[in-house]
């Protein structure tokens, strides 16, 4: 018995520093009054317009703080610039983790940067909620501490194809796309979904970026007579394609576009309602940006950032911020990183009130948002749709 006591005492003395270190790691970035959250985004450089994607999340933190925080702790954001560059992004992540010692990370536009960050953050082990970048590879294969809080590329691609097939008697589907990975991230999951449903695309065409004429593609499509066209094109090329479709008398064929295009911007670009009246886009929200359901969120952002010019990006990170706060509340005042990760994995069908689809994180799947709504013109008004002819 004495020997056992001696052994246990010795073992405790040896293990104590390591355990203390683990405890310190678990609560790093926490104080009685604050939870520090590292927020990375492209605040400078060519892609700095994407930094708008973090505005909604920051405004939501401000709102929570104004209401007293979470269990008395304020959400304190420490912002770092990635400039949408992998080396600069890695420096930002390492600064937040090892110098600022934040409790967790949330944010990130630019899939390339997020992909480069993944091994470092996975190794560091602190919770990271991706609030804008869409590449599936950021959170798949599963990493225990990385959560995706927006629809991924594959979720959007599936949503596009599902909407197309929800139109009655759709059998003949054509695809037109850019020959880059951005386009493929939408078109390939859409193809997979179509094939799962027994529909083989009857025409697969390419329109390169910067092309100012789509006559050749449209004439091919005219021979093909598709019921629906999936267009994985940037906004400028989408406008050209729609213009040429109308020019050759095919303006009545519905076209399904990506989240990279905005319905009303496309209307502005073409300057002609008839050209875009059968155009549909992926839309991750419950309402139009100026709709009633979005108004409280818009007011919230303007409450803290009065000069913010709202765009689709401005709202994208709010849903994941809500899910985070819900998980923090579920953990209670005795917060640790492991407890937060466990609580995030318990988030089920979380209705954010802003994203069209709920957030569900399980221990096996951290890609939380599995679908997206679609926006299109119905009776001349931009309308959010669940499926063909079904308003959200």
């Amino acid at each position: 018995m004495n020997k056992l006591t001696t052994f246990l005492t010795a073992a405790t003395l040896v293990a104590a520093p390591a355990l203390a270190q683990d405890d310190a790691w678990e609560t790093q970035g926490l104080s009685d009054g604050a939870i520090t959250i590292g927020v990375m985004g492209p605040f400078s450089g060519n892609a700095s317009s994407y930094s708008k994607a973090l505005i909604g999340m920051m405004a939501y933190y401000d709102k929570v703080n104004e209401e007293g925080g979470v269990h008395g702790r304020k959400l304190v954001a420490v912002q770092e610039d990635t400039a949408c560059d992998s080396a600069k992004g890695l420096a930002a992540a390492k600064k937040l983790i090892s110098q600022d010692e934040v409790f967790m990370l949330q944010g990130n536009s630019c899939s390339g940067v997020a992909l480069a960050l993944r091994p470092t953050i996975e190794e560091a082990g602190l919770p990271w909620i991706v609030a804008h970048a869409v590449s599936d590879s950021i959170s798949d294969p599963l990493a225990g501490n990385i959560f995706h809080g927006v629809p991924t590329g594959s979720a959007n691609g599936h949503a596009m194809a599902a909407f197309v097939l929800s139109k009655p008697d759709t059998k003949n589907v054509a695809i037109i796309e850019h020959s880059n990975d951005w386009a493929h991230s939408y078109s390939n999951p859409a193809r997979d979904y179509l094939r799962e449903q027994g529909v083989e695309p009857t025409a697969e065409l390419t329109m390169e970026r910067g092309q100012t004429d789509a006559t050749a593609q449209v004439l091919k499509l005219r021979q093909n007579k598709p019921d629906f066209i999936i267009a994985a094109l940037y906004e400028a090329e989408t406008a050209i394609f729609l213009r040429d479709l109308k020019k050759y008398g095919m303006g009545d064929i519905p076209v399904m576009g990506t989240a990279g295009t905005d319905l009303e911007n496309t209307l502005k670009r073409t300057g002609d309602f008839e050209t875009v009246q059968n155009y549909y886009v992926i839309h991750s929200y419950v309402d139009n940006l100026d709709g009633e359901k979005m108004k409280p969120w818009a007011d919230m952002i303007h409450g803290y950032y009065p000069d913010e010019e709202l765009s689709t990006f401005s709202f994208v990170s709010i849903g994941s911020a809500e899910a985070l706060v819900s998980a923090l509340e579920a953990v209670g005042p005795d917060l640790t990183r492991s407890k937060l990760i466990a609580a995030l994995e318990e988030v089920r069908d979380f209705d954010t009130g802003i994203l069209s689809d709920p957030i569900t994180w399980t221990p096996e799947d951290h890609q939380g948002v599995k679908g997206s709504a679609v926006a299109g013109f119905v009776d001349g008004e931009p309308t959010v749709l669940k499926a063909w002819g079904q308003p959200y």
Binding site: F43, D85, A87, I97, S98, G112, A116, S135, N180
Partner: protein, 327 residues
Amino acid sequence: MSTTMPTSRQRSLRTWAFWAVPVLLLLTPLATNAYTQFIVNGMLISILVTLGFTLVIGNLGQLAFANTAFFGIGAYASAILSAKLGLPWIMTIPLAGALGALGGFLASSAALRGIRSYYLAIITLAFGELMRWAYLHTKPLTGGTDGLPLPRETMFGISLSDDTLKFYIFLAVTAVLVKATLNLLRSRFGRAVMAVRENEVATASLAIPTARVILTTFIWSGFLVGCAGALFARHVGHVFPESFGMLHLIASFAMVLVGGLGSVLGAVLGAVVLTALPEYLRAFPGMEELFFGLIVAAVLVAMPMGLASLLRRLSPIFVERYYREES
């Protein structure tokens, strides 16, 4: 003999001083965390990139901008050899350097055909863009826009994601290559390089094979920057085409000018200062580019010969001389 010329004692002191720097730098990890170590590692990579660049535009006097192409070639070579062929990353460094050298050979072909000045600049810029197009459109090999991640690897039982281990490797590679370049420039060949810069026709009239000098300088530059590319690939762990665009070229050019055109010491100073500066400017989100531009402009206005000229004024030990001293 000019009073600024170093004596043989000073030369010996200079050699000792050169090796003392990397030896002292071995202690760096004692004073850094993961973030600051990452920045220091980035400085070492930038030193090689800037050195390769200044060699061509400063020492050889050719307005060639293929530097970023060599950098990308080295980075992708290292990533492909590691990820696709399973080679240990450390072995990919000389191979990436060799492929960078091949890039240097290709870039020099324009100069060898008598293309000079702005025409050479445009051709070499186009070479860089062509390489970027290749990274984007050879997806099975390069991963396209998704980039190519390097496999996780260990050395001596330590993960290569460890910034301290990377630092020691980067430091060794950088010190050896900087010293080799210094020795090259102090050799007969180095003097021929500078003779070509001063007057190519006069140099040729002295029976110096100017074509070979130009070719070899481009190849050595490609090798240096190719090796830097391999280090960069491991530094970020995932190579993307965007890393090898015009912005990188402009940043490297600024490092050359701020440090001092055609100066090895300048390449080191420019790389260190302009890698560190953006990190200090992190505290001013959205204003970084403005401050960065102003600081670079101020240095160039106040010191047209770069930061190296400042050190040269302080001590003759920093004077870079590539000709034989009178006895």
